[in-house]
Each structure stands twice: as structure tokens, then as C-alpha cells.
């Protein structure tokens, strides 16, 4: 036991330090780059090298942390059979899926009889502790760290207001580790790519052809190479900090940091009006979501009194349960009192949490729903879900490496990551909302992507669509599937964005696909790597199994997992059949528009001779990251759900997901892993058929060009317009928010001009008049009086002047006569 405690504690500290360094390195990089870059030579590539060094160092630290963690757990994480068995054994009876039990005693009995999972927790020291959430005493006895252990602790206390403790916490489990490695790795590739892509900024006289000055010339400005890399470093720091955070409050802090970084980078070409507008749009749209986030935070604080995810040990060695534990307990069960309908909170040791009056602490069920929806609203904004999705395509105004970073590893990943991290707090109602939000988003975005012609915009819509898939997966209880897709998507989407950046760079900033075509002859490496990404996202596979696994790129495995979860969900809740049909159909649409993009850009004959003639393959500094990323896009999910990546992730799966026991109320039952496994092959086959169909259709339209897509578009003009107009979302928001605001603003302008200004002017002129009168009064009365006094005094003085003759003897005579006179007076009035 002691051995286990010591090893757990030291491992936790080591991981915390390593990941902390990985997180802080980009921040140091940012500070140095932004100041040194400003004061030193603009033509220096040092900022870029420094940024690459910092994020690369972060990657090394993250990888080291992952390896240390793996060694400490003896890679039990990868031996999934044992783990899975433990999960399955927990699932005892289906009655527990609908928990509305008032009697918690009865409840506790049921669980101790389940037996297999005795609660066990380490408390090695105050600063640091591990909550082993499900029984793995066998590992602990061997001196191993359980693979699903959570390392959490407090690094620094920022402030303490009464009960509100604002601290810098960390929360490390396998999801954190995988996210760190993924983010740092992809960010490193993107940084290296950006050295090539941003090289045009290495000048004192950068000519921005998109900005027309009033004198008809283009804008000339100094290059901002260093600034770009400084922002990128800050961006990486924010994202890593977000993943590192162990409390929802700290997550919110980094959440906003991510937001401001995206604002800075989307608006990098600050002189372009479109970039300005896009940056503002992204920021404001996120504010809308963050409003919900804040409401969620308030509810959590007032109801639970803590922001921490994991339990905390206070100064007296007393353990206080964290958010997840309070709601879910050790076995992932949410207890809803049948009398009041409130959710009863779990205490640290499987007892009911009591307040000061020894009454069970509860939170009204509806408040928990609102808190969950609030936090999810933040995720909606950040991950560009319906109805806040419109900012993301506009975010393409930023330089392409930024788009790659925003769309894969950082900004949008943050929303899905938080939805996954906060999963235990979501009730089934919230999960259903999440699922439908994802479902709508993935369909809407995919349909728009069909008609988009800007190469980056197609990718942007595909990102929204894929994020919808992730949200859908999380909503239908496929926690592992959703985050699995997050990781695989990060790889192939960053790859495709960099490839599109390579195309844009090679074609001298031409982004319109109708002007491209046949480019694979000019840029073979880009075309090849893009093809890898396209196949990965489309989810194509060869229906042969070798060594129990299908030959497929990463996207196939993760999308497969999502579709399977959705199918299992709809089998359990048949009225929500759309949650399966939509992603299935959209899988076909995805394959269609992604292959459309590839054929459009790289295949066939050149459409625009000028663009084609000037196109060239990009330098090695850009193609090598592409090749490396394509390797990972193809192979990172190898083995699918039996593979390394998924098993690593599934160790962080909230307790109870595997058994499908996450239910609260609302009559929704989530599928268990077994149920998903049963339909996996069926769903996978369906998805594959649809994807192949989609890809074939794309070949018909754009590869072989048997059918002219323009004619098809013209035969459905209204539908075509509708899609080109992005489902009228921008117009809708314009009509709903922008125009009313403008109208009201117009009224206010009139009010200002007429009433306020009139009042002010009247007041001003009356003051002027009063001042004039006051001046007259001052000049005549006050000044007159003073002058009169002065002249009187002067006159008197002047009249006395004559007396002062300067004759000494005369004075003495006066004195003598005066004395004489006084005597005469005295004697005449007072004779005695």
C-alpha cells in the first residue's frame, strides 16, 4: 500500500511538472518573441525558430510524461481486455439505468453486493492525491498505478473570497496526456510549416494586395513575422493550459485566452476590413456562448461550492469531493430523490453529502440541467456548433497555418474537449440536447460544403460538420468515440489545412477552386498528402480484415465508432432515429464534398491557365510537416477500438459510461459498450457503403466529369441558392440581430440629436447668457465698489500728503502744540 502511495504521488508530481513545463514554454516563447521581435531585426527568422523550439520542447515534455505514465502503469491501459471486462462486470442489472431511488441505504446495499468494485482512494499527501474511481485493488497491491487513476492537485492559490477558493489546479488523466501530445505535436508541425508560409512577411515593405488605399495603391506595411509566431505561441499556451486545468473556473480563464488568441490571429491582416469583421464575428459569437458558460459557473458555484473537477484535501487533511464525484459518486450513478425530484450529492466515501444542518445536500434537477446547458453553450460557441457556427467559415481570413491550428488542435477542439471532460455533470436531457445540436450541425455544415468553392471554406465547413459528429457522439453516450474522433480529426484536418495552405502558397494566394485543377502534376507531394487526408476524413476502408483489423485510415475507425454508438442509441430509443440516420447520410456527403475538393483542385485539366502556369511545389519546410502529418492522419488510429489510441483514451472514460448507466431522468437510456459492440459491424458496413457511394458520386461529377455539376445546380436553382447562401444563417442573423440593433441604434441617434443634444445646447446657451449678465454685474457693482474704495483711500492719502513737509522743527512745533491742546482740553473737561 505504502509503495503504491509513494509511487502514485511521485508520478503525479512528475507528470504535473512535465506538463506544466510543456504548457509554460510557449508562454515564455510568446513573451520573448513579442518584445525581442519588436525591438530587433524584422528580417530575422529567430522568432520562428524560438516558437518551434518552445512548442517542440513542449512536445518532448508531453511525450516523456506519456511514457513515464505508461511505464508506471506498466501499460495496463493497452491491455484493454482486462479493463473492458471490469467495465462489463459492473453492469449488473438494467433496473439501475433508471435511477429514481429515494432510499439511498437500499442503494448502497445494492452496490456493496455488486462487490467487484470496492471504492479505493489514495491520499498520499495534501498537495497531491489520486482518486481511483473503480476497483483495481489488484494493481495497487502490486505497487502499480491504476491506468484510470486521476492525478490532481493544487499548484497555486490565486485568491480566496470566503468559501470561494480560486486556485490553479491540475487534473491529469490519460485524456490530458493524449491531448497534450496531440496538441504539441500538431502545433509543432504547423509552426514549421508556417516558417515557409509566412516567409513573405520577412520584409520591411510588405505589400498587401487585398487592401486598396484611397489613392489607388496597395497597402505597404512592415512585415509582421515575429508577431505571428508570438501569437501562435500564446495560442498554444492557452490551449495547453485549458487541457491542464483542474477546475472549471481555470478552464474558463484559458477558454477566454483561447478566444482572444483566435481574435488576434484571425484579424492578423488587420488592415483588411474582412479580416477585422471576421475577427470581431468570431469573438462576439463566442461571447454569446460564454454568457451561457458564466451562468453555468454561477449555478455550479452556488449549488456545489467548488469549481474543482477532482476531490480536494484541505489544510486539515479533510477530503472534499469534487464536482464529478458529488454528482456521480463512485459508480457513475446520479441519485434523484423520488420525493422532491432533487439530485442528492455524493460525499467523499460513498455517503450522502450533508450540509451544516445534517440534511442531505441536494441540487434541484432543473438547475443541474441549466448548468449543463450553460456549460454546453460555451462549447457551442467555441466549437462552432449550430446555431453559433457562422463565425468559423469567416475565420478563414486568418493566415492558413492559423486556420490549421484553430481547426484541429486548439480552438474548436477546446469545446469538444470540455464537453467530454464535463461529461459526468451532464444529465440525459442535456446529452440529448448535445446530440441534436451535433446532429443539426453536422448535416447543415456538410450540405453547405457541397457548394462552397473556396478551398479553405470547404475545409471550414467540413470542420464544423466533423465537430458535429463529435458532439453527437458525446450526446448519445459515446464518450470514447467522440474524443477518439477529436484526436483523429485533429490529425487529418491539420494535414488538409496545411495542404490547402500549400496549394494557396503554390498558386500565389489563389483560393478559388474553380480556377484550379490538374495541380497534382505541379505539386505531387501536396496532392498526395491531401489525398491521404481526404480518404481519412471520408472514412474509406478496404473491407478486408487482417489480424482482426480493417485496413483503413484513422477517420474510418473513429467515424465508425460514432455511427455505431448512434445506432445503438437509436435501437434503445427508437423515437430518436434521426440521430442515426443523419450522421449516416452525412458520412456520404462528407465523402462527396471532400473528394469533390480533391478532384476540383488536383485532378483533371487545368481550368485557369494563368494560375496553373505559375503554380509550383512548395519548399521542403512546408512539405515535410505535410508528410509527417499524413503519416499520422493515416495511422494514428490503427487498430480502431482495439488500437492504442482508443484504449489510452478510454482509461479516462467517466465511470458508468461503459455500462450505459449515465441515466438521470427523462426516459432516455444510453447504450452500453456491449450494445455498441453488437451493432458495430453493421453500422460500420453501412457507413462504409455510404462513404464509397459519396466518393463515387464525387468522381462522377468532378473526377471523370461525366455530369456537369453546374447544370445539376441550375436545375435546382432555389436549393442551390439556399446552400450557397449558407442556409441563410448570415441573412437570418442579420435580420434577427444586426438589423434590429441598427434600427434601434438609429432611433437612439435621433433621440441623441434631438433630445439630448437639444437639451445640452439649451443648457449651454442659457449658461452663456447668465454669464453675460454676471459679467455686467461683476464689472459694474463689484468692481465699482472696489474701485470706489480704492479712490477714496487714495484721495485721503493724497490730502494728507501736504502735511508731511519734512521740516523737523515744524513737526516738533506740532507735537508741542498738540500736547498743549491736549492739556487745555483735559483741563477744560476734567478741571480736577
Amino acid at each position: 500500500m505504502l509503495l503504491a502511495d509513494a509511487s502514485v504521488s511521485s508520478l503525479g508530481n512528475t507528470l504535473a511538472i512535465l506538463l506544466g513545463i510543456a504548457c509554460l514554454l510557449p508562454l515564455c516563447g510568446f513573451l520573448i518573441e513579442i518584445f525581442a521581435g519588436y525591438w530587433s531585426d524584422r528580417l530575422s527568422k529567430t522568432p520562428a525558430l524560438m516558437a518551434v523550439g518552445c512548442i517542440g520542447g513542449g512536445f518532448a515534455c508531453s511525450l516523456l510524461a506519456l511514457i513515464l505514465w505508461g511505464n508506471a502503469t506498466c501499460w495496463t491501459a493497452l491491455k484493454a481486455d482486462e479493463h473492458g471486462a471490469a467495465h462489463h462486470s459492473v453492469r449488473d442489472d438494467s433496473a439501475e439505468t433508471q435511477l429514481a431511488l429515494a432510499d439511498e441505504e437500499l442503494h448502497a446495499d445494492e452496490h456493496s453486493s455488486a462487490g467487484a468494485d470496492d471504492h479505493h482512494a489514495f491520499h498520499p499527501e495534501v498537495e497531491h492525491h489520486v482518486a481511483s474511481e473503480e476497483g483495481h485493488d489488484d494493481h495497487a497491491a502490486e505497487g502499480l498505478v491504476p491506468a484510470h487513476a486521476v492525478f490532481s492537485g493544487t499548484i497555486y492559490r490565486l485568491a480566496k473570497f470566503g468559501n470561494l477558493d480560486i486556485t490553479v489546479d491540475y487534473y491529469i488523466d490519460s485524456l490530458t496526456l493524449v491531448m497534450f501530445v496531440m496538441v504539441t505535436f500538431i502545433a509543432t508541425c504547423i509552426h514549421i510549416f508556417a516558417i515557409g508560409y509566412m516567409s513573405e512577411e520577412l520584409t520591411h515593405e510588405y505589400v498587401d494586395h487585398a487592401v486598396h488605399m484611397s489613392d489607388g495603391h496597395h497597402l505597404h506595411r512592415p512585415g509582421r513575422f515575429y508577431r505571428f509566431f508570438a501569437y501562435m505561441s500564446l495560442f498554444c499556451f492557452s490551449m495547453l493550459g485549458l487541457v491542464y486545468s483542474g477546475s472549471i473556473f481555470l478552464v474558463f480563464v484559458f477558454w477566454e485566452l483561447v478566444g482572444i488568441c483566435s481574435y488576434l490571429l484571425i484579424g492578423f491582416y488587420v488592415e483588411r476590413k474582412s479580416a477585422n469583421v471576421a475577427a470581431n464575428k468570431a469573438f462576439i459569437m463566442n461571447r454569446v456562448g460564454d454568457f451561457g458558460f458564466l451562468i453555468g459557473l454561477m449555478i455550479l458555484w452556488t449549488s456545489f461550492g467548488t469549481f474543482r473537477f477532482a476531490e480536494e484535501i484541505d489544510d486539515h487533511g479533510q477530503a472534499h469531493a469534487g464536482l464529478f464525484h458529488m454528482v456521480r459518486g463512485d459508480k457513475g450513478l446520479m441519485r434523484v430523490s423520488s420525493e422532491t425530484g432533487d439530485v442528492v450529492m455524493w460525499g467523499e466515501h460513498e455517503e450522502t453529502l450533508l450540509d451544516e444542518n445534517d440534511q442531505p445536500r441536494t441540487i434541484p434537477y432543473y438547475l443541474l440541467v441549466i448548468a449543463g446547458l450553460g456549460i454546453f453553450a460555451g462549447c457551442v460557441g467555441k466549437s462552432a456548433q449550430f446555431p453559433l457556427q457562422t463565425w468559423l467559415p469567416d475565420a478563414m481570413e486568418g493566415p492558413t497555418p492559423v486556420s490549421a491550428l484553430v481547426h484541429s488542435a486548439t480552438m474548436v477542439a477546446a469545446g469538444v474537449y470540455l464537453a467530454g471532460r464535463f461529461f459526468p455533470m451532464f444529465t440525459t436531457d442535456v446529452l440529448l440536447v448535445i446530440a441534436y445540436t451535433g446532429c443539426i450541425t453536422l448535416f447543415v455544415a456538410a450540405t453547405i460544403a457541397i457548394v462552397a468553392t473556396d478551398i479553405k471554406r470547404v475545409l471550414a465547413y467540413s470542420t464544423i460538420s466533423q465537430l458535429g459528429y463529435m458532439m453527437l457522439a458525446i450526446g448519445v453516450g459515446g464518450w470514447g468515440a467522440g474524443l477518439f474522433h477529436l484526436i483523429t480529426h485533429a490529425f487529418f484536418k491539420s494535414l488538409m489545412f496545411l495542404a490547402s495552405g500549400s496549394v494557396i502558397f503554390g498558386c500565389h494566394h489563389e483560393q478559388e477552386m474553380p480556377k484550379m485543377g490538374g495541380l497534382w502534376r505541379k505539386m505531387p507531394i501536396t496532392a498526395l498528402t491531401m489525398l491521404v487526408g481526404v480518404i481519412a476524413i471520408a472514412g474509406l476502408a478496404i473491407p478486408v480484415t487482417i489480424m482482426g483489423a480493417r485496413i483503413a485510415f484513422s477517420g474510418y475507425h473513429s467515424k465508425d465508432a460514432i455511427v455505431a454508438t448512434a445506432l445503438a442509441f437509436t435501437e434503445a430509443n427508437s423515437m430518436h432515429f434521426l440521430l442515426f440516420l443523419t450522421p449516416l447520410v452525412t458520412a456520404g456527403i462528407t465523402a462527396f464534398y471532400m473528394f469533390r475538393l480533391w478532384f476540383y483542385t488536383f485532378a483533371g485539366d487545368p481550368r485557369d491557365k494563368h494560375v496553373y502556369d505559375h503554380a509550383h511545389e512548395t519548399p521542403k519546410v512546408m512539405t515535410i510537416p505535410l508528410l509527417v502529418l499524413s503519416l499520422f492522419a493515416a495511422g494514428c488510429a490503427i487498430g480502431g477500438e482495439e488500437g492504442v489510441l482508443y484504449r489510452l483514451l478510454s482509461n479516462s472514460e467517466p465511470v458508468g459510461v461503459a455500462a450505459g448507466r449515465m441515466s438521470g431522468a427523462g426516459g432516455i437510456s444510453l447504450p452500453s459498450h456491449e450494445a455498441i459492440h453488437l451493432v458495430h459491424a453493421q453500422a460500420g458496413t453501412w457507413a462504409l457503403i455510404v462513404a464509397v457511394l459519396g466518393a463515387f458520386l464525387a468522381y462522377v461529377f468532378y473526377g471523370a466529369r461525366w455530369v456537369n455539376p453546374t447544370e445539376v445546380g441550375q436545375s435546382f436553382p432555389r436549393l442551390y441558392r439556399f446552400l450557397v447562401e449558407k442556409w441563410q444563417f448570415d441573412a437570418l442573423y442579420d435580420a434577427m440581430f444586426v438589423r434590429p440593433v441598427r434600427i434601434i441604434a438609429g432611433w437612439f441617434v435621433v433621440f441623441d440629436r434631438v433630445v439630448l443634444d437639444g437639451f445640452l445646447h439649451a443648457a449651454a446657451s442659457s449658461v452663456v447668457h447668465i454669464s453675460k449678465w454676471d459679467r455686467r454685474f461683476d464689472e459694474s457693482i463689484i468692481d465699482g465698489f472696489v474701485n470706489l474704495m480704492a479712490s477714496v483711500t487714495f484721495g485721503i492719502g493724497r490730502s494728507f500728503k501736504k502735511v508731511q513737509t519734512g521740516m523737523l522743527r515744524q513737526y516738533i512745533t506740532f507735537i508741542a502744540l498738540g500736547v498743549l491742546a491736549l492739556f487745555v482740553l483735559m483741563l477744560s473737561f476734567f478741571p480736577n
Partner: protein
């Protein structure tokens, strides 16, 4: 001395005082004026001493007279210094020429 009355002292003092005043008013010479001042002061002194002898004033009158003598000496020193400076500037000590501060 027993038969001598206070009135006689006061009469002598008054004569001295009047002589001093007339001297101050009639002399144009600065030194003459100073002599007049001394006469006036000594007239006052005579009164003080006489009052100290014939009234319950006692030693106070005599002490006051001593103070007056000392002050007269000091005054004479300052006045003679002024007279010297005045002579240096105007080559005369005619007090009627000293009218620079007249109105």
C-alpha cells in the same frame, strides 16, 4: 531742603521742558536739536526724581530716571551717528535740508 515744595521742582522741570522744546523748534543745527532733546529728557528726569521724593512712588521714580539717562545716552549716540552720516552726504547738518521723505 525741608521747606522746598514739590511745586518748585515741577516748575523748574516745566521751565526746562519748555526751554528744550523751544530749542528743538528754533535750532536749524542738528546738534542744537539734540541739545533740546536732552533738555526735555532731563526735565522729565527731574519730575521723576521729585515725584519719587514727595509721593509714595519711592525708588521706582529714581530707577525710571536712571533708565531715561541710559536711553538718552544711547539716543545721543545714534543721533550723532545720523548727524555724521547726514553731514557726509549733504555737507551740512541743517535739519531743514532733511526733507527727502516729505509728501
Amino acid at each position: 531742603m525741608e521747606g522746598v515744595d514739590l511745586k518748585l521742582f515741577l516748575l523748574v522741570g516745566a521751565v526746562l521742558f519748555v526751554c528744550g522744546v523751544i530749542c528743538m523748534t528754533s535750532k536749524r543745527n542738528g546738534i542744537g536739536v539734540l541739545i533740546g532733546v536732552e533738555l526735555v529728557l532731563n526735565a522729565a528726569n527731574l519730575n521723576f526724581v521729585a515725584f519719587s521724593r514727595y509721593t509714595p512712588l519711592g525708588l521706582d521714580g529714581q530707577i525710571m530716571a536712571l533708565f531715561v539717562i541710559v536711553l538718552a545716552a544711547a539716543e545721543a549716540a545714534v543721533a550723532l551717528a545720523i548727524a555724521l552720516n547726514f553731514y557726509n552726504n549733504h555737507l551740512t547738518i541743517d535739519v531743514d535740508r532733511a526733507d527727502e521723505l516729505r509728501g
